[in-house]
Structure formats: C-alpha cells, structure tokens
Symmetry: C2
Subunit: 203 residues, 2 copies
DNA sequence: AATAAAAACTCCCTTTTGGGTCTATTTTTC
DNA sequence: GAAAAATAGACCCAAAAGGGAGTTTTTATT
C-alpha cells in the first residue's frame, strides 16, 4: 500500500482525490492538510511515501514548502498537483526536489500512474506537462541570475536610477540589462515585459 | 430534486463535486461537461435548474459562456465555481447573469447552500467573496469605458502615438488618460500599472 | 432648465526609456 | 586552453512616459 498525504485547500477536490486514491487498490490516504503549516505539523508524527502537494496554499507557496519537506524528509516523494502549467513553475518544483508534476485537469488515472511511478523512484510528469517541458526546453527563455533580479525590480516599478543604486551598479549597466531583457523576452517595451514576466511566472 | 449540470475541466474535482451533490438529498447531477462547447451542446437537449460553471475552461471563458447561456436559457441559474477571487471577475460574472459565486476552497456545504439559494431566486455568494464584495465596493477602482480600452492597449504594449491613431484621438489625450490611470490604480509607472491591471484582472 | 460632476480633450516641459554600438573583465563550459 | 556566456561599464540620441495646469463637452441630478 502506498501511503499518501494530500495537501490542498480545495476541499471539494480533496474529497474526490481521497476517493480516487483509496479506491485504487494499491494506495491509501493517510493524511489530509488544507494548509502548509498543517502539513508540516502532521509530518512530525507520520511520514507518507508520497505527498500530493498543491502550489497555491493559503499560507505557503508549494514551491517553498516542497523544498522544506525534501530537506527534512528526503525519502518522502513530493508530487505537485496544481493548475499551473508554466515552464518556470514546473522547473522550480523539480529543482526543489519534486518527483512528479500533475495538472489538475489531467485524467484521474494519471494521478494513480504518478503515485506508482514515484514510489519506483521514477520522475512522473502528466502528459500535458511532459509535452510542455520537451517542446519548450529548447525555445525556453533562460534568464541569468542578475537578469532575474533586475526583472523583479522592474515589475515592482523601480526606475533605472533607483535600481542602479540598489544593485550598486551604473545606470548605463542597468539600462543595458534592461534592453537585453526586452530582447530576450521579445518585448517591445516595459509594459509587455511586465506582462510576459507575470504570465510566464518569471518573478 | 434540484437538477445540476457541472461544467469544469478539473476531472478530479468534478468527481468530488458529483458525490457531494448526489449525496445532498435534495439535488442530483444530471450532466457533466469538461468544455464549454460540450456544455452548450448538452443544453440543447436538457436544461438543468442550476449550472455549476468554472471560469477557466479550455475552449471558453466562463464569463462569456455565462452570458450566452443566460441569453438562450434565462430560467437556468448559473453559479460560478472557480478559484478566482478578484473583484472584477465576480462583478463581470454577476453582470453576465450569474446567480451565485463560490470559490473552490470554500467549504463543500457552501455549494449545497448555494444550490438551494439560487433555486429560491436568491443571489448566493460564498463567505469569502461576500466579504470581498462588501469590503471593496467602496474602495474599488472603477474605470470608465475609455480608460478600460486604453488600459488594454497599454498592457498589449502599444505606445501613446499608436493608441492615439487607433482611437482617433490626440496623443495628448491618450497621455492624459494614461496619467489618470496611473493615479487611479495608484501606480508610479507603466510597469506597476500593467502589474496591477493583470493582478486585478482588469483586462 | 440649471448646475455640478465626470469624461474627453489640449499644450508645455522634464525625466525615463529604449535603440545602436562598443570595450573590458570574469566565469563557465567544452 | 579556447570559446562562449555573464557581468560591468560607456556614449549618443530619438522616442516615449509622466508631472502640471488648463478647456470643452457630456451626462446626471435636482
């Protein structure tokens, strides 16, 4: 029996999920948490084999929570179960130690396939995400650490002089980075830059 | 028995939802659709008393779909069931004829309360949304039609001269609107303006 | 019909953005 | 150890954004 801890604040979804897991014949739900805090608390007492983890929790980002969980309990497999289908989110989850990524509109069977796969030490991506990661891996924009920091400042509304001061760099340098960002994200101006950054969840 | 048609592409959630409705004792699921097209097709043959409608459908925006449904079948009650909790989205749904609005992390019982309320010709908002709508109704930013159009152009990356041409107005006029938008949305520059517009789903 | 409020529109002027081109370290990767 | 990428910086200049201070036209409301 694969033991599963469900972490999701969508209570109706949790009900469906619990039924699905418990009726699979090879897995059972041993815990349910509606918040990140609740999840961490319960992990003190009992560690499941797999955690089904939502990203939009009321108190935590699932991305950060995944990281914390994997540090404290490296043997526990984390499977992201969320409605985000952005490259950068998937990537971050995998970098933070997730063993699987399933979007919420996937077929219910994919959840069960995922549970089996990750307990066999495989990495599992649901069909749609698998396609995304393969298709985009080439054309995907990759920002350098500095570019990411700058992008954050821009989205937060700082001007070049202000950013220069914050980052201890010349205004010209910031301006250059900014232009490179526009080019990389194929944005014609700041407005589009911000839109793309938010849409692709780059910040 | 209240007849319910569920429209949502999150198949696992639908399972939970179906169970919830069917076990309520006063309602039953008569149809399930995973797409907007599918929903409209099924409505040709059978109209439920209530439609539980997601906003993020693969082929349709639930906001537009609600409008279409209410035009063709005014007697059918539409209840939005979604994860969006932005003022403007709720507002648009209600303007398009929705009788209820429930967020996905609401308590399951709220769904049942909602079904009962809307069949009694009441408007039903789940607790969190009800709070939001009351709290924000005063402080909520309200944009004029022109401002909305302009905001769309800005978010899409058009410059003032381009917008002026598109809207057959002077560049100065556009510039003024832009400044008014900055002021209204409390944004110090375009970057923040775009961020707020996207976050608040004003476009 | 009077009037107040909101919406639509214009001009001036400064700061910020963005396009182009170029140099020089440092770090990473093959 | 060479090539490639990342980091940091510079200068010129045109275009766009944004601050301030106005006028006219619609649209409500009494």
């Amino acid at each position: 029996m694969i033991t599963v801890h469900i972490v999701d604040d969508h209570k109706i979804l949790v009900e469906g999920l619990k039924k699905l897991v418990d009726n699979s014949g090879f897995a059972r739900t041993t815990a349910v948490s509606y918040t990140g805090k609740d999840c961490l608390w319960k992990l003190n007492f009992e560690q499941p084999q797999v955690i089904l983890l939502d990203i939009n929790l009321p108190d935590w980002s699932g991305i950060d929570l995944c990281n914390v969980i994997k540090e404290k309990y490296p043997q526990v497999k984390v499977v992201a179960l969320t409605s985000y289908s952005e490259y950068s989110i998937v990537r971050q989850m995998l970098e933070n130690g997730a063993s699987g990524y399933i979007i919420k509109n996937a077929m219910p069977e994919e959840i069960l396939l995922g549970l089996q796969a990750v307990t066999n030490n495989e990495t599992f991506l649901c069909e749609e995400i698998d396609l995304l990661m393969n298709k985009r891996s080439l054309e995907q924009i990759w920002l350098t650490p500095r570019e990411k920091v700058l992008l954050k400042y821009i989205v937060d509304g700082y001007t070049n002089p202000e950013i220069a001061e914050q980052m201890f760099l010349a205004v010209d340098t910031i301006n250059n980075y900014r232009k490179k960002l526009l080019c990389k994200l194929n944005a014609r101006n700041t407005a589009v830059l911000v839109r793309i950054a938010l849409e692709q969840k780059l910040v």
